[in-house]
Each structure stands twice: as structure tokens, then as C-alpha cells.
Symmetry: C2
Subunit: 308 residues, 2 copies
């Protein structure tokens, strides 16, 4: 039996079969294809300008380190652009230390500017301490709110004007479905591949790998010999996201392309919801002054109750 040839170069042997497109890819074409697709996403959603200073949020996992690797290649062509990695130490015993060590190794190896900020410095509390005090929501809910703020603060500190995060296709599909299950439908209209305030009250947020399935992001990291943390966060098991993840994975196996279909569904719903809900008013938080859609931002809602 002849080995399957790469559908792109038609020369090398394919090492990966992409079910949702019915094609095979060789090592070289796979890497190039992933990078081209991220370029297309960036261009389609107008994510970057030639002179942007991009803060890349790096956790030390496969998504953020693949994102950083791809953005390094892409921004190399733009001499006025700049990249700085920002890493958040949430204060999760053992787990996070390992990730930070991995991230730092990468920064040194590739001479990347970086900044590390911690929940302890910014909020006077490690995540491990917070989740012991507050139990109404899942640890992931608290961590998500505080980490986003921490990344923004770090990005402002290093002088960046854009924040890039490593949300992949699976993350986006899961989040949209979870918003429906949680009743947060208007949130669908606010979580976009690129989010920018016309009045510049917050840094532009972009998700350049939001159209790459998680599996292919992991494969990209392996193919590039990127060392990444593969142990899952100890709090992950408590998350409802796991149920959504396995449901979508099962559906993707039965019907390849399901995750893309969900992504396109979200885009249609987003357009509809934007028209319906109109513009969302941005206010300043009563306590910290950061932009928020309510009187008190989520960060202060979490901290004011926890820290008396």
C-alpha cells in the first residue's frame, strides 16, 4: 500500500489527516498551513497594525507558546512592531511554578522581553487563598476575571497597546455554548476575535489562533519542539467546561467540522445580538476606575467581598 501523500506539496508523506477538510499534510506543510491560517485570521478581523506593541499573554501551556511562536514569525516582517510576553502567577501551588519555569526558558532561548505579575502583588491574595475564602463560584470563574485584569495591567506596564491571548477554536466554541447554558447570551456579542474600544479606554484584545482547533495547536507545538506544560490545572476538574469540551469532542469525531460550524453560528448570533442589544455603555468602576459595564467591576466584586 502506498503511503498517503501530503495534499499540499504532493511530494512528502502525510503525517496528519485533517478530517474536517479530508486532506493529509506533511510536517513542513502542516506548520506552514497553521501559520498561514493565523495570518488570515489576523487579516480578516483586522487584528494588528504594522506598529503595534503586542503583549502576548503566556501561561506556559501549548496554546500561548504556539501563539508566541507564530506571532514572532509574523511580526518579524514589521520592523516597527514589538512583542512582549506577559505571564501571570495566579498563586496555584506547584502547578504554576512549573509553568513559569517553562515560559522563562522560552523567553531566554529566544531573547524575548517579558514581564511577570502575580495575584499576590496585584490583589494581595493568591488564588489558592481566594478559593478557600470564596466558594460561591468555581475557582475558574474567579481566576478568569482576575487573570484578565492582571494581563491588562501587565500589558499597560510594559507599554503595549494590544493584548493577544491564546484562545483556540475549541475554547471559543465551548465558551459560546456555556454562555447559553449559563443564560449569559448578551455576553456572546461581547466576546469577539478582536475587541476594541473606539475611545481607547481599554487595550485592544485579539485572539489570533481562535480559528485553529486545539488538537492542531498542540500538534504545532510538538512539531516545533516547543516545551510546554502539559499537566492540567488542579482546579480544572471542577469546571463545567469539561462537560462541554467532551460533548463537542464527541460531536467533532462523528461530524468533522462541528467546531467550525459552532464558530460560524456564534458569528451569526453575535451580529443579531449586537443589533438587538444596541451599544453597551462603558462606565468606570466605582472602586478601581477600570472600564466596566456595571457600576462595580467584576474584579472589585470578587475582592471587596473577600478582602474586608
Amino acid at each position: 500500500m502506498n503511503p498517503l501523500r501530503c495534499s499540499f506539496c504532493r511530494k512528502n508523506e502525510a503525517f496528519y489527516v485533517r478530517s474536517y477538510e479530508g486532506i493529509g499534510l506533511c510536517h513542513k506543510c502542516f506548520k506552514k498551513n497553521i501559520e498561514d491560517r493565523v495570518r488570515r485570521t489576523i487579516s480578516k478581523y483586522k487584528m494588528l497594525k504594522p506598529d503595534d506593541h503586542v503583549a502576548v499573554a503566556v501561561s506556559g501551556g501549548k496554546d500561548s507558546l504556539s501563539l508566541l511562536t507564530i506571532l514572532r514569525k509574523i511580526t518579524k516582517r514589521f520592523p516597527k512592531s514589538r512583542l512582549t510576553a506577559v505571564t501571570v502567577d495566579e498563586g496555584i501551588a506547584e502547578y504554576r511554578d512549573e509553568a513559569i519555569r517553562i515560559a522563562k526558558n522560552y523567553y531566554k532561548k529566544h531573547s524575548i522581553d517579558y514581564a511577570i505579575v502575580s495575584f499576590e502583588d496585584l490583589f494581595q491574595m493568591k488564588l489558592d487563598e481566594l478559593v478557600k475564602k470564596k466558594r460561591e463560584l468555581s475557582p475558574c470563574s474567579y481566576c478568569g476575571v482576575l487573570r484578565r485584569r492582571a494581563i491588562n495591567l501587565a500589558a499597560e506596564k510594559v507599554g503595549a497597546n494590544v493584548v493577544a491571548t491564546g484562545h483556540n477554536l475549541d475554547d471559543e466554541a465551548q465558551t459560546a455554548m456555556l454562555n447559553i447554558v449559563h443564560g449569559d447570551v448578551t455576553r456572546i456579542s461581547r466576546v469577539e476575535p478582536v475587541l476594541e474600544d473606539p475611545n481607547g479606554r481599554f487595550l485592544r484584545r485579539i485572539k489570533p489562533i481562535c480559528e485553529i482547533p486545539e488538537k492542531e495547536v498542540a500538534l504545532y507545538a510538538y512539531e516545533n519542539g516547543i516545551e510546554f506544560q502539559s499537566v492540567p490545572c488542579p482546579y480544572m476538574a471542577t469546571s463545567l467546561r469539561n462537560d462541554m469540551r467532551s460533548m463537542l469532542n464527541r460531536m467533532e469525531v462523528k461530524h468533522p467540522g462541528t467546531k467550525y460550524t459552532v464558530f460560524r453560528s456564534i458569528e451569526k448570533l453575535r451580529s443579531a445580538l449586537k443589533l438587538y442589544a444596541g451599544k453597551i455603555e462603558l462606565k468606570n468602576c466605582r472602586y478601581c476606575g477600570e472600564p466596566t459595564t456595571t457600576d462595580i467591576c467584576q474584579v472589585c466584586k470578587i475582592l471587596k467581598k473577600a478582602v474586608p
Copy 2:
């Protein structure tokens, strides 16, 4: 230890704990509460008028026979209203014969007018034969389209002006989520608790038990001593709906009330989508003349290819 008292009558012992409301119910109050809630759904969505002739679609399962039982009680107060049961024989060997026997027993016991129509008579083909010929979609997809048409034809034949179906809360939540996974987001705006054409080109369709969870519909059937078919359809295992069902059931256990939250999310999305998509034009099918949103209705699309 004292037994848990019913939260309604505060007298009898509770036999069922409703987690999403944090209450217990006795046998008598449970039955009354289910009937009251269906009354509220009917009134909220303006499903029925005092002189309606309602065709109740009865498969012989717990949902349709509970629906018929509740509608019999409700319409009893309206002397100008009328109920007729319509049952479709899809042609599923063994499985459907049993269900029809059960449905007929119910009709005779309670002196209910009924009509039985078959895929074989209406479409010159049993479902078992169709699914052998056509394999692009799941059996459930074909059956759903043809069964809906069969119910409408039967309802028109008996002179009804409304069709009531036994879709429960679980069905509605699953369907909305599946529409997103399948990319059919505009369908969300067309699948409502009540669907009526202002120009009367199709019979009004209502789902009176769409706000009752499946579990409580089954319990209602048991409590009323209704004999129903409990064997699942032999084609069910092939359905993606099963994955969605188990995911939503797991979430409901972890977070009681999740299915209601999804139901409310759909209502918000529906309002947004209606505004966005505008009115959907209704045409007549080129082949059979039935109302459709495309040139050829789904039924003819299935049959024209299958029957040369």
C-alpha cells in the same frame, strides 16, 4: 427523623424533591402543579382559544400521552373546544406496532376521537425502507420531516385548526443547542412554543408541555397510571441528540435549573434573531404546494430523491 412535608399543602409527605426550586411535593400537589404549569404556559404564549379543535399528536410515549391527559382536563372547561388524537405509523418494524396498540387502548378507555395515518399510505414508503435507500442524513432527520407533515395532513383530515405536540423542556433545550452545533441558527427563531401564520396558510402549532422537564413528564405519566411505551426507538442510538441529552443532564445535576436557563437563553436569542433576520417569506412548494421557506419543501427533497 421526620419525613419531608409537601411544600404546597404542608400536610402530606413529599414523594418528589424538585431540586431546581428546592421544594418537595406530595403525589396530589405534584399532579396539580404540573397541570397548573401547563395552563400557565398555554396562557402565557396564547396557545389556545375557547373554540379550538386541537389535534394532539400521540406517539404512545410518555410525553404525548401525558399531554393528551392534561389537555383533556383543560379543555373540559371549554364546551366549544374539541380534541382529536392523531397517530402516525412511520413503519418501524415491531417498535411502532406496540406504541399504536398502547395509544388505541388509551383512546378506547377514554372515548377519544382519533385518526391513524401511515408513511406507507401518505408517502408510499415505510421509514424502514427509506433509511435503507437514503443514508446521507440520520434516520431521525428523515423521520422528523415526514412525521411533521403526516401529523399536519392527519390534523387537516379530522378538521382540526391547531396541532399540539408533546415536546418537553429537555427536547427544546436540546434542539436549540443542536441548531447551533449544526449551524442552523436562524431555525432558532422559527421554533417557538407557538407558531402561527397570520395568513392561516398552515395550522397553528403549539407545545403546551415545553416548560416541563422530561423527568417530571415521565413522573406525571406514572402518577396517573398511564400505560406508555418505554422502549426507545431502535434508531435513537444513531442520533447526535443523545450526546446533547447526556451533556445537559449532567449539567442539570451539577446545576439544577440549567435546562430552564437554556430555555430562557433561547427566548432572548429568538427575539434578537427575529429582529435581525426580519420576516421569513413563506412560499408554496413547487411539487406538493405545501408552505415552505425554500422552493422545494423538505418532504419533497427527501422523497423526490428516494422515489424516482
